[in-house]
Protein backbone atom coordinates (compact mmCIF):
# COMPACT_ATOMS: atom_id res chain seq x y z
CA UNK A 1 0.00 0.00 0.00
CA UNK A 2 1.49 3.37 -0.89
CA UNK A 3 1.78 6.34 1.47
CA UNK A 4 -1.23 8.17 0.10
CA UNK A 5 -3.52 5.16 0.46
CA UNK A 6 -2.36 4.63 4.02
CA UNK A 7 -3.11 8.26 4.74
CA UNK A 8 -6.57 8.05 3.22
CA UNK A 9 -7.64 4.61 4.38
CA UNK A 10 -6.61 4.66 8.03
CA UNK A 11 -9.74 4.99 10.14
CA UNK A 12 -7.66 5.70 13.23
CA UNK A 13 -6.21 9.19 13.61
CA UNK A 14 -3.87 10.18 16.41
CA UNK A 15 -5.85 13.26 17.45
CA UNK A 16 -9.15 11.44 18.02
CA UNK A 17 -8.21 8.78 20.53
CA UNK A 18 -10.33 9.55 23.61
CA UNK A 19 -7.17 10.39 25.57
CA UNK A 20 -5.88 13.61 27.07
CA UNK A 21 -7.17 16.11 29.62
CA UNK A 22 -10.92 16.65 29.92
CA UNK A 23 -11.42 14.17 27.10
CA UNK A 24 -14.98 13.49 28.25
CA UNK A 25 -15.88 16.86 26.71
CA UNK A 26 -12.86 18.04 24.72
CA UNK A 27 -12.18 15.70 21.83
CA UNK A 28 -9.20 17.47 20.32
CA UNK A 29 -7.13 20.65 20.31
CA UNK A 30 -5.64 22.27 17.25
CA UNK A 31 -3.08 24.98 16.56
CA UNK A 32 -2.76 26.64 13.18
CA UNK A 33 -0.11 29.15 12.19
CA UNK A 34 -0.35 31.25 9.02
CA UNK A 35 2.90 32.30 7.36
CA UNK A 36 3.87 33.83 4.04
CA UNK A 37 6.96 34.09 1.89
CA UNK A 38 8.32 37.61 1.69
CA UNK A 39 9.10 37.76 -2.02
CA UNK A 40 5.98 36.25 -3.57
CA UNK A 41 2.47 37.66 -3.82
CA UNK A 42 -0.01 35.89 -1.53
CA UNK A 43 -1.84 32.94 -3.16
CA UNK A 44 -5.00 34.94 -3.93
CA UNK A 45 -2.89 37.38 -5.96
CA UNK A 46 -0.27 35.00 -7.35
CA UNK A 47 -0.27 33.56 -10.87
CA UNK A 48 0.33 29.86 -11.48
CA UNK A 49 4.08 30.31 -11.94
CA UNK A 50 4.33 32.11 -8.61
CA UNK A 51 2.21 29.48 -6.88
CA UNK A 52 4.54 26.86 -8.28
CA UNK A 53 7.53 28.81 -7.01
CA UNK A 54 6.04 28.96 -3.51
CA UNK A 55 5.39 25.23 -3.69
CA UNK A 56 8.99 24.55 -4.77
CA UNK A 57 10.39 26.76 -1.99
CA UNK A 58 8.42 24.81 0.58
CA UNK A 59 9.49 21.51 -0.91
CA UNK A 60 13.09 22.59 -0.50
CA UNK A 61 12.51 23.47 3.14
CA UNK A 62 10.63 20.33 4.14
CA UNK A 63 13.70 18.17 4.96
CA UNK A 64 14.50 20.68 7.72
CA UNK A 65 10.98 20.22 9.10
CA UNK A 66 11.37 16.44 8.99
CA UNK A 67 14.61 16.74 10.92
CA UNK A 68 13.05 19.07 13.47
CA UNK A 69 10.10 16.74 14.05
CA UNK A 70 12.07 13.53 13.62
CA UNK A 71 9.23 12.31 11.43
CA UNK A 72 8.63 11.63 7.79
CA UNK A 73 6.24 14.02 6.03
CA UNK A 74 4.23 12.64 3.12
CA UNK A 75 3.72 15.08 0.28
CA UNK A 76 0.33 15.09 -1.44
CA UNK A 77 -0.26 17.20 -4.55
CA UNK A 78 -3.89 18.29 -4.66
CA UNK A 79 -3.81 18.21 -8.45
CA UNK A 80 -2.73 14.57 -8.55
CA UNK A 81 -5.55 13.21 -6.45
CA UNK A 82 -9.28 13.01 -7.08
CA UNK A 83 -11.86 15.35 -5.61
CA UNK A 84 -13.07 12.44 -3.51
CA UNK A 85 -9.60 11.86 -2.06
CA UNK A 86 -9.36 15.54 -1.26
CA UNK A 87 -12.67 15.27 0.57
CA UNK A 88 -11.29 12.45 2.70
CA UNK A 89 -8.31 14.61 3.65
CA UNK A 90 -10.70 17.47 4.48
CA UNK A 91 -12.88 15.22 6.64
CA UNK A 92 -9.77 14.12 8.50
CA UNK A 93 -9.04 17.83 9.13
CA UNK A 94 -5.75 17.60 7.24
CA UNK A 95 -6.66 20.12 4.57
CA UNK A 96 -9.13 23.01 4.35
CA UNK A 97 -12.03 23.64 1.99
CA UNK A 98 -9.88 26.14 0.18
CA UNK A 99 -7.38 23.45 -0.85
CA UNK A 100 -10.24 21.18 -1.81
CA UNK A 101 -11.73 23.71 -4.20
CA UNK A 102 -8.54 25.13 -5.75
CA UNK A 103 -6.11 22.27 -6.30
CA UNK A 104 -3.65 24.04 -8.66
CA UNK A 105 -0.17 23.95 -7.14
CA UNK A 106 -1.73 23.30 -3.77
CA UNK A 107 0.06 20.76 -1.64
CA UNK A 108 -0.15 19.28 1.80
CA UNK A 109 2.60 17.63 3.82
CA UNK A 110 1.46 15.31 6.54
CA UNK A 111 3.13 13.04 9.07
CA UNK A 112 2.21 9.37 9.46
CA UNK A 113 0.18 9.74 12.63
CA UNK A 114 -1.84 12.48 10.89
CA UNK A 115 -1.45 15.10 13.59
CA UNK A 116 0.90 17.51 11.84
CA UNK A 117 0.20 18.98 8.43
CA UNK A 118 1.62 21.84 6.41
CA UNK A 119 -0.62 23.25 3.70
CA UNK A 120 0.96 25.12 0.83
CA UNK A 121 -0.83 27.92 -1.03
CA UNK A 122 -3.95 27.97 1.07
CA UNK A 123 -5.12 31.52 1.84
CA UNK A 124 -1.51 32.02 2.87
CA UNK A 125 1.60 30.40 1.42
CA UNK A 126 2.11 28.32 4.53
CA UNK A 127 -0.39 26.96 7.01
CA UNK A 128 1.10 24.87 9.78
CA UNK A 129 -1.36 22.73 11.67
CA UNK A 130 -0.89 20.51 14.71
CA UNK A 131 -3.59 18.45 16.38
CA UNK A 132 -3.71 16.57 19.64
CA UNK A 133 -6.43 14.70 21.56
CA UNK A 134 -8.08 16.24 24.61
CA UNK A 135 -7.57 19.76 25.96
CA UNK A 136 -3.91 20.45 25.36
CA UNK A 137 -2.94 23.56 23.45
CA UNK A 138 0.68 23.76 24.64
CA UNK A 139 2.01 20.60 22.99
CA UNK A 140 0.67 21.40 19.52
CA UNK A 141 1.79 25.03 19.90
CA UNK A 142 5.35 23.94 20.67
CA UNK A 143 5.23 21.50 17.77
CA UNK A 144 3.91 24.18 15.41
CA UNK A 145 6.66 26.54 16.61
CA UNK A 146 9.24 23.84 15.88
CA UNK A 147 7.91 23.50 12.33
CA UNK A 148 7.81 27.28 11.99
CA UNK A 149 11.41 27.64 13.20
CA UNK A 150 12.58 24.94 10.80
CA UNK A 151 10.84 26.64 7.86
CA UNK A 152 12.02 30.07 8.87
CA UNK A 153 15.60 28.79 8.94
CA UNK A 154 15.29 28.07 5.22
CA UNK A 155 12.80 30.63 3.93
CA UNK A 156 12.32 34.39 4.10
CA UNK A 157 9.08 34.85 6.02
CA UNK A 158 6.97 37.99 5.64
CA UNK A 159 7.21 39.78 8.99
CA UNK A 160 6.82 43.37 10.10
CA UNK A 161 8.30 44.65 13.35
CA UNK A 162 5.10 46.38 14.28
CA UNK A 163 2.36 44.30 12.67
CA UNK A 164 3.93 40.86 13.13
CA UNK A 165 3.46 38.03 10.65
CA UNK A 166 1.82 39.33 7.51
CA UNK A 167 -1.13 37.36 6.16
CA UNK A 168 -3.47 37.53 3.21
CA UNK A 169 -6.45 38.15 5.44
CA UNK A 170 -6.15 40.93 8.05
CA UNK A 171 -8.08 38.75 10.50
CA UNK A 172 -5.00 36.51 10.84
CA UNK A 173 -2.38 39.25 11.14
CA UNK A 174 0.15 39.38 13.93
CA UNK A 175 0.57 35.93 15.39
CA UNK A 176 -1.16 34.15 12.51
CA UNK A 177 -2.46 31.88 15.23
CA UNK A 178 -5.78 30.13 15.23
CA UNK A 179 -6.12 27.88 18.24
CA UNK A 180 -9.24 25.78 18.29
CA UNK A 181 -10.78 23.09 20.38
CA UNK A 182 -13.29 20.46 19.32
CA UNK A 183 -16.00 20.02 21.92
CA UNK A 184 -18.63 17.34 22.35
CA UNK A 185 -21.58 19.04 24.06
CA UNK A 186 -24.56 16.67 24.17
CA UNK A 187 -25.51 17.85 27.66
CA UNK A 188 -25.68 21.48 26.59
CA UNK A 189 -27.55 20.57 23.40
CA UNK A 190 -30.18 18.46 25.20
CA UNK A 191 -30.68 21.08 27.92
CA UNK A 192 -30.80 23.79 25.22
CA UNK A 193 -27.90 25.84 26.53
CA UNK A 194 -25.66 25.89 23.49
CA UNK A 195 -26.98 29.13 22.08
CA UNK A 196 -25.91 31.02 25.20
CA UNK A 197 -22.31 29.89 24.68
CA UNK A 198 -22.45 30.88 21.04
CA UNK A 199 -23.80 34.29 22.01
CA UNK A 200 -21.31 34.98 24.80
CA UNK A 201 -18.15 33.86 23.02
CA UNK A 202 -17.63 36.93 20.78
CA UNK A 203 -17.35 39.07 23.91
CA UNK A 204 -14.41 36.90 24.93
CA UNK A 205 -12.74 37.24 21.55
CA UNK A 206 -13.74 33.71 20.66
CA UNK A 207 -15.96 32.15 18.03
CA UNK A 208 -18.03 29.01 18.42
CA UNK A 209 -19.48 27.14 15.48
CA UNK A 210 -21.00 23.71 15.04
CA UNK A 211 -18.71 21.27 13.21
CA UNK A 212 -21.70 19.84 11.36
CA UNK A 213 -25.08 21.43 10.81
CA UNK A 214 -26.24 25.00 11.44
CA UNK A 215 -27.70 27.21 14.15
CA UNK A 216 -30.87 25.13 14.39
CA UNK A 217 -29.57 21.61 14.36
CA UNK A 218 -26.17 20.19 15.19
CA UNK A 219 -25.99 16.45 14.47
CA UNK A 220 -23.30 14.89 16.64
CA UNK A 221 -23.31 17.80 19.13
CA UNK A 222 -19.81 18.75 17.97
CA UNK A 223 -18.63 22.35 18.26
CA UNK A 224 -15.46 24.16 17.47
CA UNK A 225 -14.31 27.09 19.56
CA UNK A 226 -11.42 29.27 18.38
CA UNK A 227 -9.71 32.60 19.06
CA UNK A 228 -10.83 35.47 16.86
CA UNK A 229 -8.14 38.00 17.70
CA UNK A 230 -4.62 37.37 16.48
CA UNK A 231 -2.89 40.72 16.97
CA UNK A 232 -1.88 42.57 20.12
CA UNK A 233 -1.58 39.45 22.28
CA UNK A 234 1.14 36.85 22.53
CA UNK A 235 0.43 33.28 21.45
CA UNK A 236 0.52 32.20 25.08
CA UNK A 237 -2.05 34.84 26.09
CA UNK A 238 -4.32 33.80 23.23
CA UNK A 239 -4.28 30.13 24.15
CA UNK A 240 -4.63 30.94 27.87
CA UNK A 241 -7.75 32.91 27.07
CA UNK A 242 -9.14 30.06 24.99
CA UNK A 243 -8.29 27.49 27.63
CA UNK A 244 -10.02 29.58 30.28
CA UNK A 245 -13.23 29.71 28.27
CA UNK A 246 -13.06 26.02 27.41
CA UNK A 247 -12.59 25.05 31.06
CA UNK A 248 -15.72 27.01 31.86
CA UNK A 249 -17.69 25.31 29.08
CA UNK A 250 -16.44 21.90 30.24
CA UNK A 251 -17.75 22.61 33.74
CA UNK A 252 -21.15 23.63 32.33
CA UNK A 253 -21.32 20.58 30.12
CA UNK A 254 -20.52 18.26 33.02
CA UNK A 255 -23.19 19.91 35.13
CA UNK A 256 -25.72 19.50 32.33
CA UNK A 257 -24.80 15.82 31.95
CA UNK A 258 -25.09 15.30 35.67
CA UNK A 259 -28.54 16.85 35.65
CA UNK A 260 -29.59 14.64 32.77
CA UNK A 261 -28.27 11.54 34.51
CA UNK A 262 -30.05 12.52 37.70
CA UNK A 263 -33.46 13.65 36.48
CA UNK A 264 -33.97 11.46 33.47
CA UNK A 265 -31.68 8.52 34.03
CA UNK A 266 -33.98 5.90 32.59
CA UNK A 267 -34.65 7.85 29.43
CA UNK A 268 -30.94 8.60 28.99
CA UNK A 269 -29.96 4.99 29.54
CA UNK A 270 -32.55 3.90 27.03
CA UNK A 271 -31.28 6.42 24.46
CA UNK A 272 -27.62 5.46 24.77
CA UNK A 273 -28.31 1.72 24.68
CA UNK A 274 -30.57 2.15 21.69
CA UNK A 275 -27.69 3.92 20.00
CA UNK A 276 -25.39 1.00 20.79
CA UNK A 277 -28.00 -1.39 19.46
CA UNK A 278 -28.53 0.49 16.21
CA UNK A 279 -24.83 0.98 15.59
CA UNK A 280 -24.16 -2.69 16.32
CA UNK A 281 -26.89 -4.20 14.21
CA UNK A 282 -28.30 -1.75 11.68
CA UNK A 283 -27.92 -2.68 8.03
CA UNK A 284 -28.28 0.83 6.60
CA UNK A 285 -26.94 3.98 8.27
CA UNK A 286 -26.95 7.53 6.93
CA UNK A 287 -24.11 9.97 7.58
CA UNK A 288 -26.25 12.09 9.91
CA UNK A 289 -27.56 9.06 11.77
CA UNK A 290 -24.05 7.84 12.53
CA UNK A 291 -23.10 11.28 13.84
CA UNK A 292 -26.10 11.34 16.16
CA UNK A 293 -25.77 7.75 17.34
CA UNK A 294 -22.02 8.03 17.86
CA UNK A 295 -22.65 11.10 20.00
CA UNK A 296 -25.04 9.15 22.23
CA UNK A 297 -22.64 6.23 22.36
CA UNK A 298 -19.86 8.57 23.47
CA UNK A 299 -22.09 10.20 26.06
CA UNK A 300 -23.01 6.78 27.42
CA UNK A 301 -19.36 5.78 27.62
CA UNK A 302 -18.32 9.04 29.31
CA UNK A 303 -21.13 8.76 31.87
CA UNK A 304 -20.22 5.09 32.41
CA UNK A 305 -23.75 4.08 31.50
CA UNK A 306 -22.32 1.79 28.85
CA UNK A 307 -19.71 -0.72 29.79
CA UNK A 308 -18.00 -3.30 27.66
CA UNK A 309 -17.00 -1.05 24.78
CA UNK A 310 -13.67 0.78 24.63
CA UNK A 311 -14.17 4.57 24.23
CA UNK A 312 -11.57 4.70 21.43
CA UNK A 313 -14.20 3.30 19.07
CA UNK A 314 -15.82 6.74 18.85
CA UNK A 315 -13.06 8.33 16.77
CA UNK A 316 -13.05 5.46 14.32
CA UNK A 317 -16.83 5.46 13.99
CA UNK A 318 -16.69 9.19 13.28
CA UNK A 319 -14.03 8.87 10.58
CA UNK A 320 -15.56 5.74 9.02
CA UNK A 321 -19.00 7.34 9.07
CA UNK A 322 -18.01 9.86 6.40
CA UNK A 323 -19.35 9.09 2.93
CA UNK A 324 -16.18 10.29 1.21
CA UNK A 325 -14.08 7.94 3.34
CA UNK A 326 -16.25 4.96 2.43
CA UNK A 327 -16.45 5.80 -1.26
CA UNK A 328 -12.68 6.14 -1.39
CA UNK A 329 -12.25 2.83 0.38
CA UNK A 330 -14.61 1.16 -2.08
CA UNK A 331 -12.69 2.85 -4.93
CA UNK A 332 -15.99 3.84 -6.45
CA UNK A 333 -17.26 7.41 -6.71
CA UNK A 334 -20.57 6.34 -8.20
CA UNK A 335 -22.09 4.41 -5.33
CA UNK A 336 -25.78 5.02 -4.74
CA UNK A 337 -26.90 6.40 -1.40
CA UNK A 338 -28.20 2.99 -0.32
CA UNK A 339 -24.92 1.34 -1.26
CA UNK A 340 -22.98 3.88 0.81
CA UNK A 341 -25.38 3.49 3.73
CA UNK A 342 -24.97 -0.28 3.58
CA UNK A 343 -21.18 0.06 3.50
CA UNK A 344 -21.30 2.50 6.40
CA UNK A 345 -23.40 0.17 8.55
CA UNK A 346 -21.01 -2.67 7.74
CA UNK A 347 -17.96 -0.67 8.78
CA UNK A 348 -19.51 0.66 11.96
CA UNK A 349 -20.60 -2.87 12.96
CA UNK A 350 -17.06 -4.14 12.47
CA UNK A 351 -15.56 -1.31 14.51
CA UNK A 352 -17.92 -1.91 17.41
CA UNK A 353 -17.15 -5.61 17.33
CA UNK A 354 -13.46 -4.85 17.42
CA UNK A 355 -13.83 -2.59 20.46
CA UNK A 356 -16.25 -4.76 22.34
CA UNK A 357 -14.61 -5.80 25.58
CA UNK A 358 -17.42 -7.91 26.90
CA UNK A 359 -21.12 -7.27 26.83
CA UNK A 360 -22.98 -8.98 29.59
CA UNK A 361 -25.40 -7.16 31.83
Amino acid sequence: MNELDTLLQASKVAWLTAEGDDSDVVLASRIRLARNLRQLPFPNRADLAQLQKADESLQGAMPAVETALGEHMTRVDMENISGLQREVLRDKQLISDNLLKNPQHRTVYCNDSQNVSVMVNEDDHIRIQCLTPGLNLETPLQKAFAVDDALEGQLDIAFDEKMGYLTACPTNMGTGLRASVLLHLPGMVYTRNVSSIINISPQLGLAVRPLFGDEKEQPGCLFQIANQLTLGYSEQELIDNLRGAVTEIVAHERRARKALALYMKERLEDEVWRAVGTLSYARLLSEKEVLELASRLRLGLDLKLIRGIAPECYGEVLISGRSSFLQNLAENENLTKTEIDRLRAQHVRKILERYRLRLEE
Binding site: P41, K162, M163, Y165, P170, T171, L231, G232
Partner: protein, 181 residues
Protein backbone atom coordinates in the same frame (compact mmCIF):
# COMPACT_ATOMS: atom_id res chain seq x y z
CA UNK B 1 -50.39 38.41 -9.36
CA UNK B 2 -49.32 39.14 -5.79
CA UNK B 3 -47.06 36.95 -3.68
CA UNK B 4 -48.88 34.09 -1.89
CA UNK B 5 -46.88 34.57 1.29
CA UNK B 6 -46.60 38.28 1.94
CA UNK B 7 -49.39 39.41 -0.37
CA UNK B 8 -47.61 42.72 -0.94
CA UNK B 9 -45.10 42.34 -3.72
CA UNK B 10 -45.51 41.07 -7.27
CA UNK B 11 -44.97 37.30 -7.55
CA UNK B 12 -42.04 36.53 -9.82
CA UNK B 13 -41.23 32.92 -8.85
CA UNK B 14 -43.79 30.23 -9.69
CA UNK B 15 -43.31 26.78 -8.23
CA UNK B 16 -45.31 23.62 -8.72
CA UNK B 17 -44.47 20.89 -6.27
CA UNK B 18 -45.93 17.43 -6.61
CA UNK B 19 -45.63 15.52 -3.36
CA UNK B 20 -47.54 13.40 -0.91
CA UNK B 21 -50.24 16.09 -0.57
CA UNK B 22 -50.84 16.15 -4.27
CA UNK B 23 -50.11 19.17 -6.42
CA UNK B 24 -49.14 22.40 -4.68
CA UNK B 25 -48.72 25.66 -6.52
CA UNK B 26 -46.88 28.61 -5.07
CA UNK B 27 -46.44 32.09 -6.44
CA UNK B 28 -43.84 34.10 -4.57
CA UNK B 29 -42.10 37.42 -4.69
CA UNK B 30 -38.31 37.45 -4.81
CA UNK B 31 -37.73 37.99 -1.11
CA UNK B 32 -40.21 35.33 0.01
CA UNK B 33 -38.85 32.87 -2.54
CA UNK B 34 -35.40 33.29 -1.07
CA UNK B 35 -36.74 31.98 2.23
CA UNK B 36 -37.97 28.76 0.59
CA UNK B 37 -34.64 27.02 0.65
CA UNK B 38 -35.71 23.44 0.24
CA UNK B 39 -38.59 24.32 -2.00
CA UNK B 40 -36.50 26.06 -4.59
CA UNK B 41 -33.48 23.89 -3.98
CA UNK B 42 -31.22 26.78 -3.10
CA UNK B 43 -28.21 25.54 -1.16
CA UNK B 44 -27.88 26.73 2.42
CA UNK B 45 -24.25 27.63 1.77
CA UNK B 46 -25.22 30.44 -0.54
CA UNK B 47 -26.85 32.35 2.29
CA UNK B 48 -23.91 32.24 4.65
CA UNK B 49 -22.22 35.55 5.15
CA UNK B 50 -18.47 35.23 5.05
CA UNK B 51 -15.90 37.23 6.96
CA UNK B 52 -14.74 38.70 3.66
CA UNK B 53 -18.04 40.52 3.31
CA UNK B 54 -17.44 42.31 6.58
CA UNK B 55 -13.87 43.12 5.66
CA UNK B 56 -15.06 44.59 2.41
CA UNK B 57 -17.35 46.79 4.44
CA UNK B 58 -14.56 47.84 6.76
CA UNK B 59 -12.20 48.58 3.90
CA UNK B 60 -14.91 50.55 2.21
CA UNK B 61 -15.71 52.72 5.20
CA UNK B 62 -12.03 53.27 5.98
CA UNK B 63 -11.52 54.54 2.49
CA UNK B 64 -14.47 56.85 2.82
CA UNK B 65 -12.83 58.55 5.76
CA UNK B 66 -9.50 58.62 3.97
CA UNK B 67 -11.04 60.24 0.93
CA UNK B 68 -12.48 63.03 3.01
CA UNK B 69 -9.17 63.58 4.75
CA UNK B 70 -6.64 63.47 1.94
CA UNK B 71 -8.66 63.71 -1.24
CA UNK B 72 -8.48 60.07 -2.31
CA UNK B 73 -6.12 57.11 -2.23
CA UNK B 74 -7.64 55.37 -5.22
CA UNK B 75 -4.49 55.72 -7.32
CA UNK B 76 -2.20 54.26 -4.68
CA UNK B 77 -1.11 50.78 -5.70
CA UNK B 78 1.46 48.30 -4.46
CA UNK B 79 4.71 48.44 -6.46
CA UNK B 80 5.34 44.74 -5.86
CA UNK B 81 2.10 43.04 -6.82
CA UNK B 82 0.17 45.90 -8.37
CA UNK B 83 -2.74 45.66 -5.99
CA UNK B 84 -4.70 48.86 -5.56
CA UNK B 85 -6.72 49.93 -2.56
CA UNK B 86 -9.86 49.37 -4.60
CA UNK B 87 -8.88 45.69 -4.99
CA UNK B 88 -8.83 45.33 -1.21
CA UNK B 89 -12.34 46.62 -1.05
CA UNK B 90 -13.45 44.03 -3.55
CA UNK B 91 -11.65 40.97 -2.22
CA UNK B 92 -11.07 41.77 1.45
CA UNK B 93 -7.64 40.20 1.01
CA UNK B 94 -4.18 41.67 0.90
CA UNK B 95 -1.90 41.01 -2.08
CA UNK B 96 1.63 40.59 -0.79
CA UNK B 97 4.05 41.46 2.00
CA UNK B 98 4.95 44.78 0.36
CA UNK B 99 1.27 45.84 0.38
CA UNK B 100 1.56 46.22 4.13
CA UNK B 101 4.21 48.87 3.66
CA UNK B 102 2.36 50.58 0.85
CA UNK B 103 -0.95 50.75 2.64
CA UNK B 104 0.29 50.91 6.21
CA UNK B 105 -1.57 54.15 6.87
CA UNK B 106 -4.88 52.68 5.71
CA UNK B 107 -4.40 49.23 7.22
CA UNK B 108 -3.48 50.19 10.76
CA UNK B 109 -6.88 51.66 11.63
CA UNK B 110 -8.52 48.59 10.08
CA UNK B 111 -6.38 46.26 12.18
CA UNK B 112 -7.24 48.23 15.27
CA UNK B 113 -10.89 47.88 14.40
CA UNK B 114 -10.63 44.11 13.94
CA UNK B 115 -8.22 43.23 16.74
CA UNK B 116 -8.42 46.25 19.03
CA UNK B 117 -4.69 46.70 18.52
CA UNK B 118 -2.20 47.13 15.71
CA UNK B 119 0.97 46.10 17.53
CA UNK B 120 2.29 42.54 17.40
CA UNK B 121 3.31 41.06 20.72
CA UNK B 122 3.88 37.42 19.83
CA UNK B 123 6.55 35.22 18.32
CA UNK B 124 9.32 36.76 16.27
CA UNK B 125 11.22 35.00 13.49
CA UNK B 126 14.88 34.51 14.47
CA UNK B 127 16.30 35.49 11.12
CA UNK B 128 14.01 38.08 9.52
CA UNK B 129 12.87 39.53 12.84
CA UNK B 130 16.02 41.67 12.94
CA UNK B 131 16.91 43.04 16.35
CA UNK B 132 13.32 42.86 17.55
CA UNK B 133 13.80 39.63 19.42
CA UNK B 134 16.73 41.14 21.30
CA UNK B 135 14.75 44.26 22.10
CA UNK B 136 11.89 42.19 23.42
CA UNK B 137 14.18 40.13 25.64
CA UNK B 138 15.70 43.34 27.03
CA UNK B 139 12.24 44.73 27.77
CA UNK B 140 11.23 41.50 29.50
CA UNK B 141 14.39 41.36 31.61
CA UNK B 142 14.10 45.02 32.55
CA UNK B 143 10.59 44.37 33.77
CA UNK B 144 11.83 41.44 35.88
CA UNK B 145 14.63 43.66 37.19
CA UNK B 146 12.16 46.26 38.31
CA UNK B 147 10.07 43.64 40.09
CA UNK B 148 13.14 42.28 41.85
CA UNK B 149 14.15 45.72 43.08
CA UNK B 150 10.65 46.32 44.38
CA UNK B 151 10.77 43.06 46.30
CA UNK B 152 14.25 43.88 47.54
CA UNK B 153 15.84 40.82 45.94
CA UNK B 154 19.04 42.68 45.20
CA UNK B 155 21.25 39.70 44.35
CA UNK B 156 18.91 38.56 41.64
CA UNK B 157 18.49 42.16 40.49
CA UNK B 158 22.23 42.60 40.06
CA UNK B 159 22.34 39.44 37.97
CA UNK B 160 19.55 40.73 35.75
CA UNK B 161 21.16 44.18 35.50
CA UNK B 162 24.34 42.62 34.15
CA UNK B 163 22.36 40.53 31.65
CA UNK B 164 20.45 43.59 30.42
CA UNK B 165 23.67 45.54 30.11
CA UNK B 166 25.31 42.80 28.02
CA UNK B 167 22.28 42.50 25.75
CA UNK B 168 22.09 46.27 25.28
CA UNK B 169 25.71 46.24 24.20
CA UNK B 170 24.98 43.45 21.74
CA UNK B 171 22.05 45.43 20.38
CA UNK B 172 24.19 48.53 19.96
CA UNK B 173 26.77 46.55 18.05
CA UNK B 174 24.15 45.01 15.79
CA UNK B 175 22.41 48.30 15.07
CA UNK B 176 25.75 50.04 14.58
CA UNK B 177 26.72 47.29 12.15
CA UNK B 178 23.54 47.83 10.20
CA UNK B 179 24.15 51.55 9.95
CA UNK B 180 27.52 51.02 8.36
CA UNK B 181 26.10 48.77 5.62
Amino acid sequence: MLCDDCGRKEAVVHITQIGADGRVEKHLCESCAAAYNDFVGVQQDGRHVSVDDFLRGIFGSAQGQENKASGGTGELSCPHCGMSYRDFRQTGKIGCAACYDTFRGQLEPILRRIHGSSVHRGKIPHRSGGTLELKQTIAQLSQQLKACVEQEEYEKAAELRDKVRALKQELQQKEGGQDHE
